[in-house]
Symmetry: C2
Subunit: 198 residues, 2 copies
Amino acid sequence: MATRTDAPTRREQILKEAARLFAERGFHGVGVDEIGAAVGISGPGLYRHFAGKDAMLAELLVGISGQLLTGAKRRLAEADGVASEAVLDSLIEGHIDFALDDRPLITLHDRELDRLRDSDRKLVRQLQRQYVELWVGVLREVHPGLAEPAARSAVHSVFGLLNSTPHLGRPGSLPGRGATAQLLHRMARGAFEAAGAE
Amino acid sequence: MATRTDAPTRREQILKEAARLFAERGFHGVGVDEIGAAVGISGPGLYRHFAGKDAMLAELLVGISGQLLTGAKRRLAEADGVASEAVLDSLIEGHIDFALDDRPLITLHDRELDRLRDSDRKLVRQLQRQYVELWVGVLREVHPGLAEPAARSAVHSVFGLLNSTPHLGRPGSLPGRGATAQLLHRMARGAFEAAGAE
DNA sequence: CCCTCAGGTTAACGACCGCTAACCTCCCTG
DNA sequence: CAGGGAGGTTAGCGGTCGTTAACCTGAGGG
């Protein structure tokens, strides 16, 4: 993967600040003037980069869902012939990285979906569903006794566990990123194992 | 506990509908006219019962936090001399009951806190903190090896897991309330045990 | 039998917000 | 060195929203 080293574009700046603000005060709670101010331009200047406030949210949510799904597919492809447990660990690791590095996005992801236009919402939901089903498939290889509906519930619940990072206090009060990641990983595995034990 | 059998007051109707609407579309996404319509009166009629829209949200959030804390304290008091594991199970059970029965409130609880006036927000946060610390205390009796910061993180994460119920599909697609409650309970226990195993 | 008051109603005000219009100003390029 | 587009600016429009004001009504009590 080509890691970005060049400066972020204005568009990217806007998206990042918008994500932070939306996560902090909700989509309707943030005005375009505030988003503009956060990147040093004023309100209507944003319309040179986005069709409207809705478009920013849409691009954020589609981007998140797509990124999660793409990452998961890649991890699945890389692990060809590897034990299912290792694949599940890889999925967990990827999700934790995302939850720890992009907390505002994780917050938006399950909070502002209903503010989207119908077509965008359908797209996001479809990406989310694919992501969930991918997890469900791997999980049921590791725990064959788990029925599909229960597996799906378990996956959603573990997402809830992993996505709890925004509630873990501001970065700094934590025991350190590595330790937190390990703790979350152990807990996710423990939760799955407990789900699998009928 | 005195179980209510008499008809709900108008105030209670309003709070219930407001909670549902706030959970569905966010605090700023719902107008007072909609809340009024949901209980059969029109917009400004609400002001005979509440000082304003903010006051409804405040009463909801304070109520939720207080209810959770009160329930937990009661469970702790009832279990005098009982094994710590059983107390932890009782706490989990109480939280699951709440998460399954009052999904809109659970959604609001960690989503709209920042929309409150300073004083109300402080009160809610204080109640939440007490609730968390109560769990942390019991958890560290069950798993003495768990350091306090890790225990607190673990508790927050399990809350995330248990509060995932709104994502589990509308009631009906689930394998049934009892089975879902049991699954969540097993997963919470599993997550805690994995957290305790250094 | 009137008075009161709880609990509604509609009209309207002021603030705010998303967005557009009109204009300006560099910078790049032929 | 003209010119044009990218990326800003401010002014302002139209709609929405929370809230208040003024008024209405039906039930209960002295």
